[in-house]
């Protein structure tokens, strides 16, 4: 099972938490300045040192060179947030170490030598930081880091220096994001040092009402302060969302019910679904389930479905590249198969 497949761990509103640390080994220049040969040598040495990672935290790990992965696999890992867009298109030798549940990953020689990332369902930053801290020590025991008393952990990009840490939470804000005040609220959060941005969407559009909250700054704050800041902003947004939502449920119960059941109906029986439509319907389904309007026979992990309908995953499932029309059909058939029956 992957971390996002556990339904019992799903919290209303808070989809997932993530802590990412970037580190560099002080024996090599940063990745952009390494030759092919040096990259290869460094990756090999780092990997050698981290071979017993599994015995440290009891997880099962896979080790793979990025160029051993197909382009589709890379894209799928990007959809599941193991890679960012830069890593997914890297040319130099780089390696990924990935736990079976995909909740822990280390990328070697990405934009920095070491990128450690932990993911979990729900609002869980504090626990993730504790885990990351321990894993960081484990790595540091073997490789000494590029570190400066004044600037902290030294990283390729000045936007990561200091703690090298990005803490983020993905929230489902379907009611709040509809309001006119939402963009004001988002920029307000910016003033506290937290950035809020849509997870899925094109241009100015947002599909699925998922928003990521993360720390803007990495220097001048302790890791604990970063965790607290992001957690506080996330809790604030969720609180506001719940207020708006409960008001809607009180005043417009029938509309809410209609929306949820219609969403279920279309998702369960449609023959073609675009990414945009499917995300909107899944978002409405998610609200319906968390409001207790809809009950399914088996637990329904909506976030897993949202990840499942992304293009690279659908293409992987059908084992071949798909055109747009085929993709829409594959998306609908995936949802028909995966969506549990109603009670």
């Amino acid at each position: 099972m992957k971390w996002f497949e556990y339904v019992d761990k799903e919290y209303p509103g808070a989809i997932s938490s993530r802590v990412r640390l970037v580190r560099n080994w002080d024996q090599y220049a940063f990745p952009s300045r390494l030759t092919q040969k040096e990259s290869m040598e460094m990756v090999r040495r780092l990997e050698q040192g981290l071979r017993d990672l599994g015995s440290f935290d009891g997880k099962k790990y896979e080790y793979a060179f990025l160029d051993e992965l197909s382009e589709l696999d890379r894209k799928a890992l990007r959809e599941r947030r193991i890679f960012n867009s830069t890593i997914a298109s890297l040319k130099m030798p780089a390696k990924v170490i990935l736990s079976e549940e995909e909740d822990t990953s280390i990328v070697l020689n990405g934009t920095d030598h070491i990128r450690l990332q932990l993911l979990s369902p729900g609002l869980n930053l504090e626990a993730l930081w504790k885990q990351a801290d321990k894993l960081d020590d484990y790595i540091n025991e073997r490789f000494s880091y590029a570190f400066d008393k004044k600037y902290g952990y030294l990283t390729s990009f000045p936007t990561n220096m200091g703690t090298g840490m990005r803490a983020s939470v993905v929230l489902h804000l379907p009611s709040l994001s509809l309001g006119k005040k939402f963009s004001g609220l988002v920029s307000e959060m910016g003033r506290f040092g937290a950035s809020v941005k849509g997870v899925y969407g094109e241009g100015g559009d947002n599909y699925g009402a998922l928003f990521q909250v993360s720390n803007q700054k990495t220097l001048g704050l302790t890791e604990k302060e970063i965790v607290d800041l992001v957690g506080r902003v996330a809790a604030q947004l969720l609180n506001q969302e719940n207020q708006v939502r409960s008001m809607a449920l009180q005043k417009h119960r029938l509309e809410c019910e209609d929306e949820a059941f219609k969403a279920y109906g279309v998702l369960k029986y449609a023959r073609r679904l675009s990414a945009k439509d499917a995300m909107l319907l899944l978002s409405q389904l998610m609200s319906g389930i968390s409001d207790g309007i809809l009950e399914t026979r088996e637990p329904c992990p909506v976030y897993r479905l949202m990840l499942g309908i992304q293009p690279a995953n659908l293409q992987k499932l059908s084992d071949r590249p798909l055109g747009k029309e085929e993709l829409d059909a594959a998306r609908a058939s995936y949802l028909r198969a995966e969506l549990p029956e109603l009670k």
């Binding site: 220049a29 400066d148 008393k149 990009f157 704050l221």
Partner: protein, 194 residues
């Protein structure tokens, strides 16, 4: 409103210029804006500009003079020049931080809101001394201790003025902002001549 330069496309970029306290407003379309030179702000109109670039461009008072003087600085360890660093917003190695320290510390403060690490310290550090690349150690190596001592006070003044300038811009008090900017300029000039 149509773009005042091409008069064909819709203007969607409003550019406000304050020169010696005189505020002028311009309206351009995205394409014309791209072709015009906004100094450090030009990067905004590139399709993939890194955030760091925008932020290091903010308050880029006197950037061009400084730039000409400093583009020769090269990190001896990895060969990254200051110019390359500014272009890509990317360090080449850990030693770059020490080499570019004095040049970048203001920008870093603008970008990060701080220039001092408060978080975790590595539990194991066995190859290099973490002090080695701090400002003090670096200028000590180059025998510039004295110069640094003399700069300390105007540097602090600059910092205060820059903070005031930022605040004035945020509050849209452009006349005040212009006056702070002029003060910063003259202080920088003073520093250069001493």
């Amino acid at each position: 409103m149509l773009c005042e330069r091409c008069k064909i496309r819709e203007a969607n970029i409003q550019y406000t210029e304050v020169i010696n306290g005189v505020k002028t407003e311009h309206n351009f379309c995205a394409q014309c804006a791209k072709e015009l030179d906004f100094g450090p702000y030009s990067a905004i109109f590139d399709s993939d500009f890194p955030l760091g670039k925008l932020l290091s461009g903010l308050l880029g008072v006197g950037e061009s003079q400084e730039h000409q003087k400093t583009h020769q600085v090269i990190c001896p360890t990895c060969g990254t020049s200051y110019e390359e660093f500014i272009k890509n917003s990317r360090f080449g190695c850990g030693d770059c931080y020490g080499v570019f320290d004095i040049l970048i510390s203001d920008n870093i403060k603008q970008l990060q809101g701080s220039d001092t690490h408060k978080g975790k310290i590595p539990r194991y550090h066995f190859h290099k001394d973490p002090d080695r690349f701090s400002v003090g150690a670096l200028s000590g190596e180059d025998g510039q201790d004295q110069a640094k001592g003399q700069q300390a006070e105007p540097k602090e003044q600059l910092r205060i003025l820059e903070a005031k300038l930022k605040e004035a811009i945020a509050k849209e008090e452009y006349e005040m902002a212009a006056s702070y900017r002029d003060q910063i300029r003259s202080l920088r000039k003073e520093q250069e001549t001493t």
